[in-house]
Amino acid sequence: MSDERHRVATTVNGTRHQRDVDGRLLLSDFLRHVLGLTGTRVGCEHGVCGACTIQYDGLPVRSCLMLAVQADGHEIATVEGLAGKDGTLHPLQQALRDTHGLQCGFCTAGILMTMTAFLAEHPKPTEPDIREALSGNLCRCTGYQHIVEAVTLAASRMGGRR
């Protein structure tokens, strides 16, 4: 079976991109290897680890369980777009640094894209809420405790702002 090419016009972190891709190209591979946005990581390609989590029209999704063609006409946010243009870290990025919420950092992008969306919906989360929201992202290094602390810290620094 031949791979047909498909036009994908998508906005990633506010920037328009247009590319022709194979129908079977995974969205994760498109972001990483076609657009060169390698901040999104890939750890399992079956939806479990959460490393590839991005935001698709504002909602966290697994980019390994979507096709690149499905980005056509949609907005995507990845870790590269989180910090301010002047390099100021997002409050959750800063909090992860302050609490030592990352070790190897391979799970971090997925956690950021999951938990920034979570904080937007839950500005004052409890620890059980945070752990529940985090449970779809595997981290093999930290044991999660410092990540949970970071989310709590970020929530308080954001002062309930969304």
Partner: protein
């Protein structure tokens, strides 16, 4: 010198890059003309290969090459023996290292049989389906005891059986001593395999630059220098022609060590042959077969003990599953054998193991590296003894502790680093006390209401102790240089896998050189930046490389003092180094920036005194005489629902002693991560092999890594008994979190469900709700079990 950074919870230098997605991992390397590799892997655990037909695969569009063992000529060679067997009397060791592509036989599911190179990974995977291999299936050896039966199928046909090694180590005379025992306890303990499962799988990219005659390899390795040396030798290149870069690594935990995995050997070779860069990234399915695993031992252990609760001796005979090949020698079973002695005075010890080849992936160190098996056996034996002797389980441990005045304590057997197993220092009592205090032991055991929740859950408490041999040799090195900008650059040969080396090494340097920790730029894992080294394993990065950094920094400090003294024409003793400057004590206007001093030390004109080295730079090395022994106690309170056997950890405490702590934030992170992996090992992660050697749960949906809801909040504390074996007094902390968790689960769950009353003991790891039900269910009364 005032210590500023050492011991302080400094946030990490490397985080900014990691948090913004800029850090480079192997799969991020993108090169023009890149080819992608995929591997055809054996579907059988044990089979003879009768024929391989790659003709159709080669025809497929986008496929550049298909390689089998037959195409490899002289390059086909079994891999190196990474760790030779230690010098132990009468040792038997049968060396069978892994091959790059299976030739006549496959020995485990997932063993590579052919490599496809294509224009994309997608196309390469398509072509795998075109390859036709005719296999003749052979009986698979899955169970250890089965493998040793005389009529068992032989995995390596040139050997007489499936024995990979046989080792006996003794201390004292157990056979005599046992006669004096008041009580002898004999049990069989089973500790099963696990998969390291870093979130980043393995990967390698290789590029041959024909103009420069140089090979560059980006590799997810914990030991780039060793890989460079090995690959250069295999390819007939000089080490100077090969650069290995271990960029950011997404967790290693052991199996990313210098394995010379088939992919690591094949990708560079073909990159040179085809003059095109090649990438291979292990996918998660491959990780379950293509990356080494650990664990899998069966111990028949015997404890001889007096009525006073004092250990007289231990005898242990165990089988160790080495998998299909044994390239890592005997590190794992020797670790188990040595760590079994734990923190206790064991006057007589007789330990024998047989390592067995099985039709499973190769076993090599993974966090804990066999130590947890030894600790499990000893801790369980003591729990059983305490019960039978009517002694409190805490008290029996205390009675047997090696006393603080008994160090260095010689255990009279040989450790994995070939040195005698001698503990350098320790003070165990206060560690245990602190753990008891933090978990609230006395209150718990005295409170009759503590053992049941309102909704019928059973609550138990556990406390166990462990030691960890860390920081073994041979050596590491570091080069430190003050740049003319005043920033300091530091290079070492160890790889890093998230342990914060960019920060802890910077802290050591910053203190010695009086600079800001943010002004120290650390490079690890690039063989062009530092030539020598061994790698990150056995919790040795901080200990060995950390001390090398310290030694190099001290030399640079001396150079700064000398240069500044010359500059100000004063005595070295009058020079103060602080805030990036050298100044004359008490005369603050007489100060010079380190950058300027560095420039002056590298003059472009004029004569330099004979014997002077240019610049403010030094390289130094450190090799400890022996490993340093860390120790600690873990305690937890656990709730078990007797109806579902689901658990909830209500409180978890770690108290550890890893000597001098460079950065408590980083050490705490190491402990948390270790405990999380220990919890996975104890209750969630089990590789389910069927009788044919097929893995039934090769996905992260069914091989259960603990989530944020499964790992509890961990309270940790530490005591400090510096190691006398290195100037900084550091001991490793990398594996401490993981080692005693199995023993702790067994004890705490037994306690919660009051198992001894039912005549049930937990003698195995991993556990699961299902396994607990099998063990305990029949003994529970119906009401308790929630049965209708």
């Amino acid at each position: 010198m005032v210590t500023r950074y050492l011991g302080a919870p400094i946030t990490r230098n490397e985080d900014a890059r990691l948090l913004t997605g800029r850090a480079l991992f192997v799969d991020d390397v993108n090169l023009p003309n890149l080819l992608h590799a995929a591997f055809l892997r054996s579907p059988h655990a044990h089979a003879r290969i009768k024929s391989i037909d790659v003709a159709t695969a080669k025809q497929r569009d986008g496929v550049i090459a298909v390689i089998t063992a037959a195409d490899m000529g002289d390059y086909w060679r079994p891999g190196p023996l990474l760790v030779p067997p230690p010098p132990i009397r009468d040792i038997v060791f049968n060396q069978c290292t892994q091959v790059p592509l299976a030739k006549d036989k496959v020995r485990h599911v997932g063993e590579p049989v052919a490599m496809v190179l294509a224009e994309s990974r997608y196309l390469a995977e398509d072509a795998l389906a075109d390859i036709v291999v005719d296999y003749e299936a052979l009986p698979a050896i899955v169970d250890l005891a089965d493998g040793l039966k005389p009529d068992a199928a032989r995995i390596h046909e040139d050997l007489a059986g499936n024995t990979a090694a046989h080792v006996r180590q003794t201390k004292g005379n157990y056979a005599e001593a046992v006669k004096r025992a008041d009580l002898v306890i004999k049990r069989r303990f089973v500790y099963d395999r696990g998969a390291s499962s870093p979130i980043e799988t393995r990967g390698i990219v290789a590029e041959w630059d024909g103009k420069a005659d140089r090979l560059t390899i980006w590799d997810t390795t914990q030991a780039p220098v060793v890989i460079r040396n090995g690959i250069a030798a295999m390819l007939g290149l000089s080490e100077r022609q090969v650069r290995v870069i271990a960029p950011f690594i997404g967790g290693g935990f052991g199996p990313k060590i210098m394995m010379f995995y088939p992919e690591e050997v094949l990708v560079p070779w073909m990159a040179i042959k085809l003059s095109r860069p090649i990438k291979w990234i292990e996918d998660r399915l491959e990780h379950f077969f293509a990356t080494t695993q650990e664990r899998g031992q069966v111990h028949d252990a015997e404890l001889a003990i007096g009525r006073d609760g004092k250990i007289i001796g231990v005898k242990d005979v165990f089988l160790h599953d080495t998998g299909a090949y044994d390239p890592y020698g005997l590190t794992l079973p020797i670790n188990s054998q040595c760590t079994l002695l734990n923190a206790y005075v064991v006057p007589h010890y007789d330990s024998t193991f047989t390592a067995v080849f099985t039709n499973k992936p190769i076993a090599t160190p993974y966090r804990g590296a066999g130590r947890q098996h030894g600790v499990f056996v000893m801790e369980r034996l003591l729990d059983i003894a305490a019960r039978q002797l009517g002694i409190d389980r805490i008290e029996i441990r205390r009675r047997n502790f090696i006393g603080p005045d008994q160090f260095p304590y010689n255990n009279e057997i040989i450790y994995q680093d070939f040195a005698p197993l001698e503990y350098d220092s320790g003070n165990y009592g206060p560690v245990l006390d602190k753990a008891l205090e933090l978990i609230g032991y006395d209150k718990f055991v005295r409170d009759p209401t503590a053992r049941r929740t309102d909704d019928g859950k059973h609550v138990g408490i556990g406390v166990v102790f462990y030691i960890e041999g860390t920081g073994i040799g041979p050596y590491e090195g570091a080069r430190i240089q003050v740049q003319s900008s005043g920033r300091v650059s530091l290079a070492t040969g160890v790889g890093t896998q998230g342990q914060g080396h960019f920060t802890s090494f910077a802290q050591i340097t910053a203190d010695q050189l009086g600079v800001d920790v943010r002004d120290v730029d650390v490079v690890t894992g690039d063989t062009d930046q530092f030539y020598w080294g061994a790698g990150t394993f056995a919790s040795r990065g901080a200990v060995v490389a950390g001390n090398a950094v310290n030694e190099a920094a001290k030399v640079v400090r001396q150079k700064i003092l000398r240069a500044a003294a010359e500059h100000f024409e004063c005595a070295e003793a009058d020079i103060v180094i602080a805030n990036g400057k050298a100044s004359v004590a008490g005369v603050s206007e007489r100060a010079i920036g380190l950058g300027e001093l560095a420039q002056r030390a590298n003059p472009l004109r004029g004569a330099v005194k004979p014997g002077t080295e240019p610049g403010l730079e030094a390289t130094n090395y450190f090799g400890p005489a022996r490993g340093a022994t860390a120790n600690g106690a873990h305690a937890m309170i656990i709730e078990v629902d007797p109806a579902t056997m689901m658990i909830e950890i209500k409180k978890y405490v770690v108290v550890h002693d890893c000597g001098t702590v460079i950065n408590p934030l980083i050490v705490e992170g190491q402990i948390h991560g270790g405990v999380a992996q220990g919890i996975g090992n104890a209750f969630y992660e089990q590789l389910a092999w069927d009788r044919d050697g097929q893995l039934l749960n090769a996905s992260l949906a069914d091989y259960l890594l603990p989530t944020a809801l499964d790992v509890p909040h961990i309270d940790s504390a530490h005591t400090v008994t510096p190691s006398p074996l290195n100037p900084m007094g550091i001991k490793g902390a990398g594996e401490a979190g993981a080692i005693p968790v199995g023993a702790l689960f067994a004890q705490a769950i037994e306690d919660a469900l009051d198992l001894p009353r039912h005549g049930v003991e937990i003698l195995e790891i991993p556990l699961s709700p299902n396994r607990l039900w099998e063990l305990i269910g029949p003994h529970l009364d119906k009401k308790e079990a929630g049965s209708p």
